[in-house]
Amino acid sequence: MDFKDTPEEAAFRTTARAWLAANAPEFELPAGVHIEDAEEIRLGRAWLARKTANRYGSILLPETYGGRGGTIMEAVVFAEEEGRYRLPRGAYVGIGIGMAIPTILKHGRSDQVERFVGPTLRGEMTWCQLFSEPSAGSDLAGLRTRAVKDDAADEWVVNGQKVWSSWAHLTDWGVLIARTDVSVPKHKGLTFFVVDMKTPGIQVRPIRQISGLKDFNETFLTDVRIPDTNRIGAVGEGWACAMTLLTGERLGQGGEGKDRGIIDLIRFAAQTPRAEATALDNSAVRLALAGAYAEEQAEKHFQARLRTMISRGENPGAAASIVKLIYSNRYQKTSGLAMEIREMAGIAHAPDDTFTPELWYDYIWSTALRIAGGADEVLRNQIAERVLGMPGEVRTDKNVAFDKL
């Protein structure tokens, strides 16, 4: 066991750090200010293009696809170093790199790999995800969007409604899962597509969120025609594709440099005046924040253990679920606590206070994190069933044709 870099890792870190110092600053986002979505995505494309041109776009992908062909530890080193900057790395690039590419590489044909992987890595093709539906969230396989084959045109005609499609209003392509057969059980009648977001019949409407932001959308698909060449994997293989994609999502969660989290709150408490000198001199505050910090560090080291497993070719499977489960719950608790530490100033702030609005955003966004990408309850089920081997839920829908449910 060694928590320090090997000489090779250290050398790579030095190189990467120098390269970042020379290149990252011009792409940094301003602190505490939300820039226009279109401007952010433009910056994001440019930063990804710059990275890929220098073999930093994907550390793990082979060089033939435009990656570096590096090790998972190099990927970790680069993410840590990149995390020191406030860079545009939102879902508009993350879905492409972390979800679309792995799925196309595993399930797609070589011409599809050719068409999509390079442009995505170069920031020329941005992606959104058309998965969840109003009545299919945790129960994704219950989705109702229909794709019907028009054999004459060799196209699929798609109708339905998707939600929570982040950045769908500004991205080029979408990964889509749709039902192509209602006469088989729900998991078996699904097929996976990629769709050009400029296709006629796609209407993207922003969803007003409780945070005040509108960066998620609902996407209505009306007689959208998708050529069969944009189908990834076989007809009916959609669930397997979706699982590949979501595994990419799960391993990506919490992977970015989140070190600043609790230490920032502890600093903040140390600087908040109180009867006992500062809020951090209060033992209840100290106990709560030390516990949160210990948990955060433990989680970081747990993720390190997962990466060691992956680097050996082992699959950590559902054990990885604890990262987001623990993280999002701690995030809600500590951001709520930080507001309390601020006392009355925690509920209303002056224009020159840039920290309080961050706490507010955290406290609100934590509710989404406890739901998105596997709700608390789903993650606990996965851990119990897949790691501890406990029985699955009583299911009444598993072997019944979708149209008989």
Binding site: P273, N282, M344, T367
Partner: protein
């Protein structure tokens, strides 16, 4: 011994609930936010007409002279509806401060106007993170002129007058200030609760009169204890609204072929929310009774009610969104009203620590009655 509301109180609650559920709908709340309004002024007028504003104001001053428990019934319904009204500021805090600390003349001048809703008052106590206890208050009153900044002040934008916690001659004091005068500047703050706007009130020699029929030092604890009980009821109302929103949503949502409400993860979560709500309500009942009774149970009873209500509403507001899933994160789904109001209630009047300290300070004889083990300690 009788631990329930009277039939009259239940009727009063139903009346308030009927009015609010008809007028202060979620659609209405969203419309107020979109219009940038800081309160639901027409609804305030209706409340005034129905006598709700003056419920606990003495009859001689134009109110109905009802008890703290009647007022609490109204507070609970305002919490349930998440109403956009300055009731807590104008009635629970400011009017009560005038009643407790004002002279007969001051009471006669202001309470009838507050009861009729002709004017709105805010109560300005905090001065930022620094709190307002001990030596923290920097605002100063001298020669009937007030100097200092109070922030944040709930409903400071819609108020006509403010009752201000200030120093008067080295002692804490309460001053009454008209806000429509040159020596007053109001600066609107960003507020976490989109339906309860907060302001900084900057006093630069504003004319002010002292409320000094009773020493403020004695009035303040009492005022905050009484307000804590009303805040607890507001929190219980909000928590209960969250509980039943979540329950109803889970009942209609289907997942994996059956009702979401049939899963133990959801059932047990809501059972815990229910337990929290009922315990908090019980503590609040006792607090309101203690306030009405006027005995020395109030400080501990108010503190216990406050602590239980903060816990209950916090849990209910968080888990309500969780049970709703993704839809709960949309503005249209209405969970957010409670999620924001909850923090506002929890952080007003001093948070958990203040009330934990107050509770322990008012327990009987902690150091004198030695239990058996003291010998062996």
């Amino acid at each position: 011994m009788n631990f329930d509301l009277s039939d009259e109180q239940k009727m009063l609650g139903e009346q308030a609930r009927g009015l609010l559920s008809a007028r202060s709908t979620f659609d209405r709340l969203r419309a107020l936010i979109d219009a940038g309004f800081e309160w639901d002024e027409p609804l305030w007028r209706e409340l005034a007409e129905m006598g709700f504003l003056g419920a606990a104001i003495p009859e001689v001053h134009g109110g109905l002279g009802m008890s703290e428990l009647d007022l609490a019934v109204i507070s609970q319904e305002l919490g349930r509806a998440n109403a956009a009204l300055p009731f807590f500021s104008s009635i629970v805090l400011a009017a009560d401060a005038i009643r407790l600390a004002g002279s007969d003349a001051q009471q006669s001048e202001w309470l009838p106007k507050l009861a009729r809703g002709e004017i709105v008052a805010c109560f300005a106590y905090a001065e930022g993170s620094a709190g307002w206890t001990g030596g923290a208050v920097k605002a100063r009153l001298a020669n009937a002129r007030l100097i200092g900044t109070k922030t944040p002040v709930a409903d400071g934008g819609v108020a006509d007058i403010a009752v201000v916690l200030t120093e008067v001659g080295g002692e804490p004091g309460l001053a009454l200030v008209r806000l429509d005068q040159p020596g007053v500047t109001r600066v609107k703050l960003a507020s976490f609760d989109q339906l309860r706007a907060h302001y900084s009130l900057i006093f630069d020699g504003a004319a002010a009169e002292v409320l000094d029929a009773q020493p403020a030092r004695e009035v303040l604890d009492q005022l905050f204890d009484r307000a804590a009980v009303q805040a607890a009821f507001e929190g219980v109302g909000g928590a209960e609204a969250c509980l039943y929103m979540a329950r109803d949503y889970a009942m209609e949502r289907q997942i994996f072929g059956r009702s979401l409400a049939g899963y133990q993860a959801i059932k047990h979560k809501l059972a815990d929310v229910y337990a929290g709500v009922e315990l908090a309500r019980s503590a609040a009942f006792y607090g309101a009774w203690a306030a009405a009774d006027g005995g020395n149970e109030l400080p501990a009873a108010a503190a216990a009610a406050r602590l239980q209500a903060i816990d209950a509403f916090e849990r209910a507001a968080r888990e309500n969104i969780q049970v709703h899933g993704g839809i709960g994160y949309t503005f249209e789904a209405n969970c957010h009203f409670y999620y924001r109001r909850e923090r506002t209630l929890a952080l007003s009047l001093g948070g958990r620590e203040r009330w934990a300290d107050r509770l322990i300070a008012h327990l009987p004889d902690l150091r004198s009655e030695a239990p058996d083990h003291a010998k062996a300690a």
